[in-house]
Structure formats: structure tokens, C-alpha cells
Amino acid sequence: MLILERRPTPSRFWAWGTPFLAVILTMIAGGLMFAILGKDPFEAIRTIFWDPLFNAQFAAYSRPQLLVKAGPLILIAIGLSLGFRAGIWNIGAEGQYIMGAIFGAGVGLAFYPMEAWFIFPLMVIAGAFGGLIWAMIPAILKTRFRTNEILVSLLLVYVAENILASMSLGLLRNPEGGGFPGSRNLGQYPSAANHELIAGTGMHWGVVAAFIAVIAAYILLQRHILGFQIKLAGQAPRAARFAGVSPDRLVVLCMGISGALAGLAGLFEVAGPAGQISIDFNSGYGFTAIIVAFLGRLNPVGILLAGLLMALTYIGGELAQFMLGLPSAAIQAFQGMLLFFLLAVDLLSNYRIRVPMLMKEAR
């Protein structure tokens, strides 16, 4: 039998050191896995972490793509991290992301083919609103009826996926698409398109929003009373209640902010890189953002770096797949290892392992 014993004062060094150790352990274990698959582990690791940034053939394209891929991850993870800090578990960001995209694209398509400056801002508001109301369902069910927000928010993802399918086949379907599912391509509708702001940089409004969110969250947590309440509610719920923090208000606020940010991410994605509402529009950003939030220690700056790292494993992973013939499942396992090692190393930095029998003998 092993017993986990909480360390009275976890090392400050390891609080920041664990993500780096987790990355190194992932590289070692991942390298072993690649070697077992019969690929050169050093080449595989180099392809994943080095080539997208510095390989002459790919870097010019891959570097901006890093921002494109990291943008929605960071935006969603920032929202999630606020709730996670307060012990409010919004697991359904994927659904909020979908609803944001549907609301935002819906508003844009309603104006088609009119060209006006206010269409894109309206879409942004609608996108945030779509994510917000989808997150309000678990929030209100929790505050009114004490349901579990983890379950409700997660299950609403599947509801959102079905709404997405229905929208691509019905209401939002491109009338000139020959009966095929999927909306008009917003990329070909200038007033609604979220194009690159500076050509060749990958910088679009979603990436800008992600950076703003990082700064805003940083200020919120460091300087604002709400940030203090969030941290207090997570660390000492009873103390928070005595200090006058309303748990219900925090639930609504945290779910609302994370929902709205996920909705925004969906809107920027549908108007930009994805271009259209389609049955398979969502590709797991909402779930991956959970990993990003934890990898970044629920800290805004940490999330920024974690988002970029995660994006790197995606883009490098794609390169490794077709350059080296690695199966996609191996890349997914590699990304999973990252979370696994992070949680494991975290556990060991907060707890120490005791073997009771040995302890008895020592006495």
C-alpha cells in the first residue's frame, strides 16, 4: 500500500518547474514510443518541435500557423482557467465554441450579400452571446437546482453538435451549394470575413482577442477584487463565504466569461480559418483547451506559452505524420502523455509518497 501525504509547503521552484519537467518526460516517453514504432526518435522529436519553427522548407508557413492554431486554444483556456481556479468546472467549452460559431455566422449570413462596416462587430457580439447562453444553462441549473456543472456542460456539447449538423443541413445551408451541407463561405463575403490582418503573419482578430484576454485575465487576477474572490473561493471556500463571496454569483460569472470567450473563439474560427459552418466544424479546441489551461498552471502568461506549445505539437505532429509516416494515433498519444506527465509530476510536487510498512519499522 502506498499513502499520499500532502506536503505542508510545496516547493515554489517545482510549482513552475513541473511543466518543463513534464515536457521533457513526454519527449523521452514519446521518443521511446516512436522507437518501438520503428521510427528514429530523435528525428521524430526534431520534426515535431524544431521543423515547424526553423526548417527552411516549412517555417515560413508554419510559424504564422502556430498563432492561428494557438489563438482559439488560448482564448478558451483563459476563460476556463478562471472557473477552474474557483473550483467551477466548465468541461463543455466545445459546445459553447460551436454555439458561438453558429450565432456569429448566423448573424453574418442574415445580412448577406449586404456590405457594411458594422456586420463583423455584430457577429463578434453574437458569437460571444451564443457561447454565453450555452454556458448559462449549466450555470443556472447549478445555482437553482444544484446540478453538477461538469455533467451538464459536457452533455450539452453533444446537443450543440446536433444543432450544428441541423444548421449545416437546414437553416444555414448555402442555397447555392447544390444541396450539399454547409453554409456559404464567409471568407468570400468581405464584410463578414476574419482575414489575416497583416498578410503572412497568421494574425487575425481571434489571435488579437486571445492576447487581449491574456492581459485582461492577468489584471483581473492580480488587481481586481473579483480575481481575489475567484482565487479565495478555490483555495478556501468556507473562508470565501465568510468574506462575503456569493458562490452562486461566482458560478454565473465564471461560466459566463468562459462561455463568452469560447463563443468568441468559435466565431473567429468560423469567420476566419474554417470559413463556413459545416457538420464537422468543431475539431476539439474546447477539450484541448482544458489541457492548455492546466499546462499553463491556470496562469494567464502560462496559458499563453502552453497554447503555443500545444499548437506546436499539432503542427509538428502533422509534419511528423506525413514526413515520417507516424500514425495519427501516436501523435494523439504523445499529446495525451503531456497531460499525463503534468498531472503525475504535479501530484508528486504537492504530495509525497509513503510506504506505511516501512514507516512502522522506522518507529
Binding site: K69, G275, G284, Q321, M323
Partner: protein, 362 residues
């Protein structure tokens, strides 16, 4: 895989190429494939990958291949395609409908790379071709077997998404079942997925409970056959996309096999000898793209003969599965006596034929 068909098609591809050389010859071609599922799905993606392997078999050192599995349809596809083009692919096959816009967008940026998009209809640039297979021809054969084999008079169709491709299949299946069994009833369950064994199994269970005893599926897993297998021969079904031979002789009594190899061999061959041109291809049983898997002995000999006659008539071009008189579901006339549906109508098909109950979801 039918080796003879492969070689014949390869020869055809090379033979055709002597007419009008459109491009310069190449010594070596790098062919790249983008797959929507894992190559081990046993259905759609598996068959595309078999086609890739045939390509290697046919050209050996003259072809180099690369592929990427489980690429989401959407923004990620565009990046994967761009990276492939940057890595030196000469021809890129994008093997799912959802890659359509990404294929065309990337094709615009790489005019020297050829793009071939499966099941799509957009060819916005001269370097984009499309290819598809007439799966509804195979459905005609399945419908014939279903109509003859059902004892309860109820047949089922597990549908994926309400897109023309699938609706075409449902209509063809029903029309040919009704032809041999005028009282047959069809129930359709929409799974809203291409590949989800659990959902597909649930759909099959629901049908079996309703008394359906012949199940066709338009989803890619073997789960519906696995459910049918639990009924001790009371319920039969068909292999979809691949042969699914492990369920022979029953419940799998026949199958539609997507045979992409000949097409890949033909196109890469054309690129090698310089005869490559932009096309919009839609081949069926005749072209070898659609194969009918062995009809097993679980089916009486006369039914088997009837189904094979149907297959051969379609292959010979003497019969088109959508030949009038046919009405739409609402009773309005669609095809007059002897009239044959044109490809445009089929590719945009958004209605059921008369006799099918239920609505196409919107």
C-alpha cells in the same frame, strides 16, 4: 481486391495517355493522400489506403507516397494540404467531401501541384480535378437482394447525413427492392456520422426490434453486421465500402466495395507520362470503381442470379438504376416512361421517391 481489374485499368490509363500530351513527362511522382479517418477503419479510409498501396505496386520506384490520417474537415485540412504541397507532393488526393473548400484554396496557391478531390463538385482552378464513384449502382443490386430476401416485408437503411450522395443510395435501394417486392416497406435511421460503431449498432438494434430483417448501411463500420449476426441468420446485411468478408456467408450476403486503386493508378500514370488533364470523373461498376462483393450462398441461387444480372446490365450500360416511370415522394412526376435521370439531378438529389415514408431531415 480484384487484381485483374487493377491491371486492366492500369493498362487503360497508360493506353489513353498516348493521345494529346498535356504536360511534360515526369520521372518520379510524389503522391500524397489526406484521409478523414484512420486507415484501420475497415471501410472508407481503409479502401483509399488500399488504393495507395496499389499505386506503389503498380509503379514501384517511380512513385513515392505519403499520407495523413484523421485530418479534421475544416481549417486543419487547409494547413495539412499546404504543408504537403510545401513538402514536394506532385499530386494530392483529398479523400472526403469536407475538404472541398480547403482543396480549392490551397490549389490556388500551388498551381504546379495537382489536386484531386473525392466526391466534391468544385473545380475552381485548372489544377483541381474531382472524382467519385456511382455507389447508387451497387445499391440497385442490394435493393434487389433485399426485396427478395425479406420475410417481414420491412427493410432498413442506416443513413449517415442527408446529402445527395446518401439520398441517392436510399432511393436506389428502395426502388429496386420495390421492383421485386411491391409491398416492401423501408425504414431509414439517420446516424449523423460516417463512423461511430456504437451509434451504428444502436440504429441496427432499433431496426431489428421493429421487425426489419435486411439492413443496408451508409456508415463505415462493421457494427450493423455485428448486430445482425446476433440474430442467428434471421437478419441479413451488406458490407459497406469494404468487403467485410469476416461476416460471410451470413449476415453479410454481399457488399459494395469502393475500389479506388484503378483511379489512382490511372491519374499518377497520366502524370508520369505527361498526359494529365483536369477531369470530373464519376465512374461506376463499369469503370471498376464500384465492385459488388461475392453474393454468398445464404441467398437462393435464383436471387443471386437476378442480382448478378442486375450488376451486369448496369456494367454493360443497358440499364440505369434511375429509369422512369418514377415519381417523387409527394406524387409529382419525376421521370417519364423510359426516361433516365441526368447526373446533375442525381448530384443534387434532395427528395425521396414515391413510396418511402418519413421525411428527409432538414
Amino acid at each position: 481486391m480484384n487484381r485483374r481489374t487493377l491491371l486492366a485499368s492500369a493498362a487503360l490509363g497508360l493506353g489513353l495517355s498516348f493521345g494529346g500530351a498535356a504536360e511534360a513527362q515526369m520521372d518520379k511522382v510524389k503522391a500524397c493522400f489526406v484521409y478523414v479517418g484512420p486507415i484501420g477503419d475497415g471501410g472508407w479510409t481503409y479502401q483509399h489506403d488500399q488504393g495507395r498501396l496499389q499505386l506503389i505496386e503498380a509503379f514501384g520506384d517511380k512513385v513515392e507516397t505519403a499520407y495523413q490520417e484523421s485530418v479534421p474537415e475544416g481549417a486543419d485540412a487547409e494547413r495539412v494540404l499546404t504543408q504537403m504541397a510545401l513538402s514536394g507532393c506532385n499530386i494530392i488526393f483529398t479523400t472526403s467531401f469536407g475538404y472541398m473548400d480547403a482543396t480549392n484554396a490551397v490549389a490556388a496557391k500551388f498551381p504546379d501541384v495537382k489536386f484531386e478531390h473525392a466526391t466534391g463538385y468544385k473545380r475552381d482552378h485548372p489544377n483541381v480535378s474531382t472524382y467519385n464513384a456511382r455507389f447508387y449502382e451497387g445499391r440497385a443490386v442490394q435493393g434487389t437482394i433485399a426485396g427478395r430476401m425479406t420475410k417481414s416485408g420491412k427493410i432498413g437503411y442506416i443513413a449517415s447525413f442527408p446529402i445527395p450522395e446518401v439520398i441517392m443510395g436510399i432511393n436506389s435501394y428502395y426502388v429496386h427492392a420495390r421492383k421485386v417486392n411491391p409491398d416492401v416497406e423501408l425504414s431509414v435511421i439517420w446516424a449523423y456520422t460516417w463512423f461511430d460503431p456504437a451509434k451504428e449498432a444502436d440504429a441496427a438494434k432499433a431496426m431489428i426490434e421493429q421487425g426489419v430483417d435486411v439492413i443496408a448501411s451508409h456508415t463505415d463500420s462493421t457494427a450493423p453486421l455485428a448486430e445482425a449476426a446476433k440474430t442467428n441468420g434471421a437478419v441479413i446485411g451488406f458490407g459497406q465500402a469494404s468487403d467485410m468478408a469476416e461476416y460471410k456467408p451470413s449476415p453479410r450476403v454481399s457488399s459494395i466495395i469502393d475500389n479506388w486503386g484503378p483511379w489512382y493508378v490511372k491519374r499518377v500514370g497520366a502524370l508520369l507520362d505527361g498526359s494529365y488533364e483536369q477531369v470530373d470523373a464519376w465512374e461506376g461498376i463499369a469503370g471498376g470503381e464500384v465492385l459488388i462483393g461475392e453474393i454468398t450462398d445464404a441467398v437462393p441461387a435464383e436471387v443471386k442470379a437476378e442480382a448478378e444480372a442486375m450488376r451486369d446490365a448496369i456494367a454493360a450500360g443497358t440499364y440505369h438504376p434511375f429509369t422512369g416511370p418514377l415519381n417523387k415522394q409527394d406524387g409529382s412526376a419525376w421521370l417519364g416512361e423510359g426516361e433516365v435521370a441526368d447526373d446533375g439531378t442525381l448530384l443534387g438529389m434532395n427528395f425521396y421517391v414515391e413510396g418511402i415514408s418519413g421525411e428527409i431531415p432538414q
